[in-house]
């Protein structure tokens, strides 16, 4: 996912722009920053880059790199009573509050001098904090921040002729950008905001050569090889849609500022380019799966604090609270009485839980679908029933819309292909998975829940080969199931465009908390509902 960050530079509570970092060279764009932000939000801007320019002017002592002055940071606390500075802080709080209320993400920088400041920003809802000078002036403090908040730290590197400068660009670090990045990567930094000083605020186009150089450095780095997510944010010089495009060809992200305020890129153009790069803001779904038998959840449940560990309503409420996006109930009851018990539980769940859920298991006829929908489920999953009678998909889709009809399919790899199994994965059908899914979609299935029998229960990760081939072939939403064992496994399927990840035991046994999973996915640039 490519990010277009809109810069809001604040000074004395106003939106301003400095040319090449000169405080004397200031243009005021707006006296009402919140309105500016609202306008960008309405165009679909998802990320903001806020700079507290009143913070950057503070002149802390440069500390020697030997760390003799650890922990005595009182002299550099820049939250003074100064009017201009407090005007800025009020505005910043306003922007953060608004941004949080509408679900956009914010990174903030400018004069960040210590751990406490970073902590405060993150506590009030900022997603990432940008740190510049401190990285060089007080490495010990910086490391403390990094070890606490690694993925939420963005290191700002301002570059002049290949050399990193600090203190509002006034002082050279005498470190080359390549050395700086290599060193910081080995410390565990994963986000870099790289600004070409010569280009900044000049509307002269971005320095693609610089970013290309950095990118090739990254490609050969150990950190990248070990699968870490590294983000380079290009900044300085964006003057047209083309320069946004060329920045995003090389980098993951780009900051756009002056060109928006000066109108070289207008709002509608911004909206269109955001759309072109982001396509959809649909979040990836995390789905716990509950196997229900005779109205009770049956397998792999290990809740520590719940006495009645197998009640579907209680478990649904629990997951509802914990951030699950959806629930899947698989009714594995064999008897009519058992099915009734499950349906009455489904009804109860529908009345208690405010998230969508899908019910499957033993669905054979339109009447089965109707029973489940009437009980309050959002969607119905059909597996073996569709294999023996594909028309049930058509009937269901006609009556309730294809978005209600989920094809559940259990597959096993067979050479280069995958074979469909029926009867809870026990009976090979001879059907080719791709051909079957294609047919099912043409019959009316609106979503695919695909379980890899090979991976199920292994916790070794989803079947990525299967899933990426499915993704390439089909446009309907795909829910991946079978093999989830860790956060990385979810990230992998989302990276290849799968819509949802389903798992049972890792959630039931609390090996992974959904909140934690989502936070980690977000830091890996996956869109999740938090």
């Amino acid at each position: 996912m490519k990010k277009i960050l809109v810069a809001i530079d604040l000074m004395n509570g106003e939106v301003v722009r400095l040319s090449q970092g000169e405080f004397s060279n200031k243009t005021v764009y707006s006296k009402t920053p919140l309105d500016v932000m609202k306008k960008f939000v309405s165009e679909g801007v998802e990320w903001f880059h806020i700079v507290n320019l009143d913070g950057t002017q503070a002149e802390p002592k440069i500390q020697p790199n030997n760390g003799t002055n650890n922990g005595t940071k009182t002299g550099t606390n820049n939250e003074t009573d100064d009017d201009s500075r407090s005007a800025n802080l009020t505005v910043i709080r306003q922007l953060i509050k608004y941004g949080k209320s509408v679900g956009v993400s914010i990174q903030i920088g400018g004069g960040v001098r210590n751990y406490t400041q970073v902590k405060k920003y993150l506590e009030i809802g900022v997603d990432r904090v940008v740190i510049g000078t401190l990285v060089f002036s007080d490495p010990t403090e910086f490391k403390k921040i990094l070890s606490a908040y690694s993925t939420q730290v963005v290191v700002a590197l301002d570059v002049l002729d290949g050399i990193v400068r600090v203190h509002g660009w006034t002082k050279s670090t005498e470190t080359s950008i390549e050395t700086a990045i290599s060193d910081l990567l080995s410390l565990g930094v994963s986000n870099f905001l790289v600004t070409d000083i010569k280009k900044d605020g000049m509307l002269s186009g971005i320095n693609t050569e610089l970013y290309r150089k950095i990118q090739s450095l990254l490609d050969s780095s150990e950190s990248k090889k070990s699968g870490n997510h590294i983000e380079i944010i290009a900044s300085g010089g964006v003057n047209s849609l083309d320069s946004i495009k060329s920045a995003l060809e090389v980098c993951g992200s780009v900051v756009v500022g002056r060109s928006l305020y000066e109108g070289t890129i207008n709002q509608a153009q911004l909206g269109n380019i955001i759309l072109a790069y982001n396509k959809s803001y649909l979040t990836k779904r995390i789905i716990p799966c509950l196997d229900v038998k005779n109205g009770k959840v049956v397998k792999g449940v290990n809740f520590l604090n719940l006495k009645d560990i197998g009640d579907p309503v209680e478990m649904a409420m629990y997951y509802n609270e914990k951030g699950a996006d959806e629930l899947v109930f698989l009714d594995i009851t064999a008897t009519v009485e058992g099915r009734k018990a499950t349906l009455s539980k489904i009804r109860e769940v529908a009345e208690t839980v405010f998230i969508p859920f899908t019910v499957g298991g033993g669905v054979k006829t339109l009447a089965d679908i109707q029973d489940i929908i009437n009980a309050g489920a959002e969607k119905v999953a059909i597996n073996s029933g569709a294999i023996s009678n594909p028309e049930v998909l058509t009937q269901g889709a006609h009556k309730f819309g294809s978005q209600c009809i989920v094809l559940a399919v259990d597959v096993k790899q067979k050479g280069d292909t995958w074979e469909v199994y029926s009867q809870a994965g026990t009976q090979p059908t001879g059907l080719d998975a791709f051909r079957w899914i294609e047919k099912a979609i043409s019959k009316g299935a609106g979503e695919i829940l695909v379980t890899s029998i090979d991976r199920d229960g292994t916790k070794q990760g989803f079947d990525l080969q299967l899933l990426s081939e499915l993704r390439a072939r089909f446009k309907v939403p795909i829910i991946a199931s079978g093999g989830a064992g860790q956060v990385e496994h979810f990230a992998e399927i989302f990276d290849i465009g799968i819509d949802a990840g389903l798992a049972a035991s890792i959630f039931h046994e609390r090996e992974i908390e959904i909140h934690t999973l989502k936070r980690l996915l977000k830091s890996r640039n996956v869109r999740v509902r938090i």
């Binding site: 509408v102 679900g103 803001y281 529908a350 009345e351 009980a375 959002e378 969607k379 009556k399 978005q403």
Partner: protein, 200 residues
């Protein structure tokens, strides 16, 4: 009394239950007589445009709903939002309620996005001051979208291959393309707002 109009296909109970949290009397209605005393009206939504309109006609509610919809607070949900418009690509022969000007179009799988649009998406405020605030994510599940003649009625949009209306407000009419009854906090805000307008 808030009337949930039974447009034929399923899942009215969760809408009813969700509204009951904020309002004492919520009835599922399928006859003209029982709707006349309603203080507010909900058009729920699963199914197709044509089926929903046909059902309204079959149970003799089409004209009633259209008439009441000019005065009392109305909440249209998903398909219930769509039938408030004049027509739909989904069922070209069917006539919608026409309480909102415009049409309903098919979502195309543009830009590699998938159709139906299923899942949680972020609501994007379109007005400087929102009538309903603090909405973030909502649960969508649809293959068609509303295209109002007047863009100013769009309160929130959603991005999925294009930018589409998520919440529309015009006078007494509130309509959501998503399912408030499945959208946790955001859904609660919408339902509360609707109930407040019924009480006023």
């Amino acid at each position: 009394m808030i009337a949930i109009v039974n447009t034929g296909s399923g899942n009215l109970r969760s809408v009813q239950k969700a509204l009951e949290l904020f309002y004492p009397e919520i009835k599922i209605i399928d006859t003209p007589k029982s709707i006349s005393s309603a203080d507010g009206m909900v058009l729920p939504g699963v199914g197709s445009f044509g089926d929903a309109v046909d059902t309204l006609n079959e149970i003799d509610l089409f004209e009633e709903v259209k008439e009441l919809g000019k005065s009392i607070p109305v909440l249209g949900i998903c398909l219930g939002m769509q039938i408030l418009f004049e027509r739909s690509e989904e069922s070209p022969d069917a006539t919608g309620l026409g309480l909102l000007r415009g049409e309903v179009l098919k979502l195309h799988p543009l830009n590699d996005t998938n159709v139906p649009h299923t899942g949680w998406n972020r609501l994007i405020p379109q007005q400087k001051e929102q009538k309903i605030e603090n909405l973030k994510y909502a649960y969508f599940n649809h293959s068609y979208y509303c295209h109002p003649e007047d863009e100013n009625v769009i309160d929130y949009s959603v991005i999925h291959g294009g930018k589409y209306p998520a919440i529309i407000q015009k006078r007494n009419i509130l309509a959501t393309q998503f399912h408030p009854e499945k959208s946790r906090e955001s859904g609660e805000q919408v339902l509360k707002y609707f109930v407040r307008s019924v009480r006023q």
